[in-house]
Amino acid sequence: MAETTPSGDNTLLRETVSAREIGRMERFLGPENYRIVMGLLKTPASIAGFILIGFFILIALAAPVIAPPVNAKDPYKIPRDGFKSEPQPMGSLWKTKQPPLPFWWESIMGTDQWTHILGTSQGQYDVFYGIIWGTRTAFRTGLMVTIATFLIGIIVGSISAYYGGWVDNVIMRVVDVFMTLPFILAALILATILTPRIGKSLYPAIIALITFGWMTYARIIRGDILSIKERDYIMAARVIGVKDSRILFRHIIPNAIFPTLVLASLAVGDVVLSFAALSFLGIGTEVGYADWGQVLSFARNWITSLDTYWYIIVWPGLALVMYVMGFNLVGDALRDVLDPRMRGKT
């Protein structure tokens, strides 16, 4: 546009720009990213997704109030009501070691006796407590894995794209190799190897999911950087002699990062699926840790009587499905917004 306007007189340019009101938000994000955000906020499906995610964030934040822990230092341990193996039905009374009553209990339930709202699973672990605190586990694992894989992906992808040539070639072949193993199996192996070495906790599974989860981000950011590298303003920066590292960090990455960032934030749901699958198989946390997959895995020993004990799979299963669906609804809308054919439309 600059060529069409004679120098010194750029009224035409000024008019074209001011024809549209540019909000603060749009100036901050840039037009392309602004379009992505607005697209997400306008689709009903993604609004439903945001509501679901918000709901779970609230539960995670309010966990100590909704279900106060018996031992405040170790809240992720699901309190047990005795040691009998057979699950107890929903609404049965809490007999031994009652945890403190939450503030809302008496006014809603009309009693000062803790009951197992959603029943107990094998070994008398309280299902309700497991679901509430499991929300925190879901966010913790999801965030940790997503942030780590995102950072690794960004670093590897930008090195690969910026240097190109043989560096790019070698890195991309390494990515291919990492992608050759089925994700869940690869994570299963690494978690199996790590568990005896660093002990039963969240970490073997988290490290395993990070090790085999960064490749997609590396590929996406690489593609975005490759296209941005060719833009005129990068050439301009080169011409005036800006340092390589400054071009990469100040000019390329900030402009290329946004789609990957949004994708990554939505992967928080997917990570939880893989994590739950691992802990369902008995890899990762110790028995009784507040984690949805763990609570579900108790059901494996009660398959033939699932019609009686349906609550040990339906409730944690519902929490897991709703949580992941929240992210998927937003993700589905995002795919439409990011679709290059949609560019230019709002």
């Binding site: 499906a45 072949r173 390494v174 291919d176 190799v177 990492f178 992608m179 050759t180 193993l181 089925p182 994700f183 869940i184 199996l185 690869a186 299963l188 192996i189 690494l190 978690a191 199996t192 190897i193 790590l194 568990t195 005896p196 070495r197 749901g269 699926l273 739950a276 699958a277 369902f280 198989l281 008995g282 890899i283 997959g293 579900l296 059901a299 494996r300 398959i303 033939t304 009587s305 699932l306 019609d307 349906w310 799979i313 339906v314 299963g317 897991l320 499905v321 992941v324 669906m325 998927n328 609804l329 589905d332 054919r341």
Partner: protein
């Protein structure tokens, strides 16, 4: 196209090297004595014998030497027998399976293959057809249902879906039992008259003309098949649909219509072949999904395939077995990716003619 295929073939040894290095690297987390399960059956308890084994199988040597022996194994000078050597198909000894890992895979893989064939074939045949229908009749019921189904489907963890299936179809209704086959058909399969042609139970049953065994096997596989494939149904349908929609908007389709071709020819002869290109990529991707999926599915339904064996081994921290499965899966994926890429060249004229 020939150069493309040759270039692609040259990638195979590179990938094989990469995957073996990756798995070998993970083996390094184990202590030398744990690694000796790669070569010997029973790990002795006394220290002297242990040291002897470590020396004999070079478990204390530098990395590159160890890697080489892991690949080719060592030949015992006195007996002339080879121990270890993944290139010769010896993946070590499985503690949880109580047999060599290679034998364990050989015994169980046919069951997994049988299951995956039945899970994939209907998806490819019917799923693609449904996707085309959803695109041709845009915004119809199929179209909307496909979208909802795919969002709900991808949010549903395999094991939750599997457990719910068990709850309804096995415990409540008693239609489909878990496991591989009933006792009655197990007797038939083990009897003299039942010949093994393919080692895949359903196909053998058909070839032997035993429809009762075939139906019994299908009855046991119904739930695993559905659990393994519901995500594929959703994704195949959607990808076919969007790719078909895009193709139908192209100008050459308008040209074909203007020429006066029948709508049937326009859709199935002009549009569909081009719309299949992304679907082929997806097919390759779904092999990865399936191989991961069998681990959970087989565990939930107690189906004796390689996935269940891997899950059992992992739960008991039997690393040698799990790594053996990883290696095997890696091989399958390298081959299937190769097939997909070649197929890609066949369906996509841009690749074929360049």
């Amino acid at each position: 196209m020939l150069t493309y295929i040759i270039r692609r073939l040259l990638m195979v040894p590179l990938l094989l090297f990469g995957v073996t290095v990756l798995i070998f690297a993970m083996l390094q987390f184990l202590s030398p004595i744990e690694r000796s399960a790669l070569y010997v059956r029973d790990i002795p308890r006394n220290d002297k014998a242990v040291e002897g084994i470590i020396k004999r199988y070079k478990l204390d040597r530098p990395m590159h030497e160890q890697y080489w022996f892991w690949l080719v194994g060592t030949v015992d000078a006195s007996t002339g027998k080879r121990a270890g050597g993944i290139l010769f198909g010896d993946f070590g000894y499985s503690r949880t399976g109580a047999e060599p890992v290679a034998t364990l895979i050989r015994n169980r893989f046919p069951n997994t293959l049988d299951l995956t064939i039945w899970a994939v074939a209907p998806v490819i045949l019917v799923g693609i057809w449904l996707g085309v229908q959803a695109a041709v009749h845009q915004n119809s019921i199929i179209d909307q249902a496909a979208r909802i189904f795919s969002i709900v489907g991808t949010s549903f963890p395999t094991f939750v879906f599997g457990l719910l299936m068990l709850m309804f179809f096995y415990v409540k209704l008693g239609w489909f039992p878990p496991g591989r086959m009933s006792d009655a058909s197990s007797i038939i399969v083990r009897s003299e008259e039942f010949h093994t042609y393919t080692t895949l139970l359903t196909f053998d049953a058909l070839l032997n003309g035993r429809f009762d065994v075939f139906l019994d096997a299908l009855r046991h596989m119904a739930m695993p098949i559905l659990t393994l494939s519901y995500i594929s149904w959703a994704t195949f349908l959607r990808v076919t649909r969007s790719s078909m929609l895009e193709t139908l908007r192209m100008e050459y389709i308008t040209t074909a219509r203007a020429k006066g071709l029948s709508e049937h020819d326009v859709i199935f002869k002009h549009a569909q072949p081009n719309a299949m290109i992304p679907v082929v990529t997806l097919a390759g991707f779904s092999v990865i999904l399936l191989l991961g999926g069998v681990v959970i599915t087989e565990t939930v339904f107690n189906y004796p395939g390689i996935g269940q064996a891997a899950a059992i081994a992992a739960a008991q921290l039997d690393v040698i077995t799990v790594l053996g499965f990883a290696l095997f899966n890696g091989l399958i994926l390298i081959v299937s990716n190769l097939v997909v890429d070649v197929l890609y060249a066949v369906v996509d004229p841009r690749v074929r003619l360049s």
